[in-house]
């Protein structure tokens, strides 16, 4: 759910895999508020949104053999932004959890815009920064929730054994 690259340090280059991972976890309201103006025209689908199942694998304690954890619903799409067959055409790809075609479209649009060097800085500041904040908040809330169930066991220091036992050991 959370990754080390969610909070890149200043001056670090942005990688496409990292921002796709961020976009796939971005809440739909946040995507909608930034990207709605870019979704006014009818979309040029390379692959229209489609919903399917994916098997999620896990490792117990993040180590050991992988096992099948269960299936999740995933929606994916690929969209083209810009003129068909022109050099400036960019293709955005998105995989998001759930069945929202709208969310997949918005995330794919964001991916395409982020590939444009002219727009990258603006998109990073207006979209990715709030997504990182949102994820950081989610993370601290989850930690706080887990902390509240923490149990402190009181351990009573054991008295030294009976004199009889000590004698036997010797």
């Amino acid at each position: 759910m959370f990754h080390a690259f969610d909070n890149v340090g200043p001056g670090k280059a942005l990688h496409r895999a990292d921002w796709i991972a961020l976009l796939s976890r971005a809440p739909v309201d946040l995507l909608e508020s930034v990207l709605a103006p870019h979704c006014a025209q009818p979309p040029q689908w390379l692959r229209a949104p489609e919903t399917g199942l994916m098997m999620v694998q896990g490792r117990a304690g993040a180590t050991g053999e992988r096992f099948n954890l269960g299936e999740v619903t995933v929606t994916r799409c690929a969209i083209r932004i810009g003129e068909t067959h022109s050099a400036s055409a960019l293709v955005g790809v998105a995989y998001v959890l759930g069945r929202s075609h709208r969310q997949a479209r918005l995330a794919a649009t964001a991916d395409a815009l982020l590939q444009n060097p002219a727009q990258q800085a603006h998109m990073d500041a207006s979209l990715l920064a709030p997504v990182r904040q949102h994820l950081a908040l989610q993370r601290t809330q989850r930690q706080a929730r887990a902390q509240s169930t923490k149990v402190e066991f009181l351990t009573v220091a054991r008295e030294s054994g009976t004199p009889g036992e000590e004698e036997e050991n010797e």
Binding site: L46, R47, A48, A89, V91
Partner: protein, 212 residues
């Protein structure tokens, strides 16, 4: 092949279900009436290499479980990425592993006998070969061509094909003789398909008089 260089890629069928159903129907029609030229109507943005009819046919037929062998010209072109992106098919270099084979016009057609032939128990496990040809004509009009006989053909059918290897008919009669094993072939012009199932017998004919 860079998986993420999608900027020049065309879209598939605008409606996946209806588009592939209509092309599948055309393929069914072509195989049930060998030698008949069937229009493959579709709205996919096909790749620049290869004929549109064969691209649409493969787009409709392939899925993630299928293996596909492409002739050298197609393997170098955008057709490979296009089919892989839209269908998830596995591209193979070894003809013996291929369930589908696509040969571009101008590339040498691999010999039919080296493709998977299926087994006596499972003849359906043979390869399907899609060959792009220059022209397809269902009427000879006095010219030399082929005379087709077999299931699905009332009497005989005529076909004139330009762009298959010179020894195609010799290869085909060996393929026909292997029944129930053997490969099925689709010949594809720009927009039309002709089906040649392994049950069809083909003889060369010099003109109308020889094929009566």
């Amino acid at each position: 092949m860079k998986a993420h260089d999608l900027s020049a890629l065309g879209a598939g069928f605008s409606s996946e279900a209806h588009g592939s159903q209509s092309v599948f129907r055309a393929a069914l029609q072509a195989l049930s009436h060998p030698g008949r030229c069937v229009d493959a109507l579709h709205d996919a943005q096909v790749p620049s290499a290869g004929h549109p009819a064969s691209a649409a046919l493969l787009l409709a037929m392939l899925d993630a479980d299928c293996t596909l062998w492409l002739s050298p010209m197609l393997a170098r072109s955008d057709a490979a990425l296009w089919l892989h992106f839209h269908t998830g098919c596995q591209l193979v270099d070894d003809l013996a592993q291929a369930q589908f084979v696509w040969v571009a016009a101008g590339d040498a057609m691999p010999e039919l006998k080296v493709l998977p032939q299926g087994t006596e128990a499972y003849p359906d496990q043979s390869a399907t070969c899609v060959v792009d040809v220059l022209t397809l004509q269902a009427h000879l009009q006095g010219q030399a061509g082929w005379c087709l006989r077999g299931p699905g053909i009332q009497g005989q059918a005529q076909l004139r094909v330009e762009g298959v290897p010179a020894d195609f008919l010799a290869q085909w009669s060996a393929n026909h003789a292997r029944f129930p094993r053997g490969v099925d072939v689709f010949l594809a012009a720009q927009q039309q398909l002709v089906g040649l199932p392994r049950t069809t017998a083909i003889e060369p004919t010099g003109g109308q008089s020889a094929c009566m």
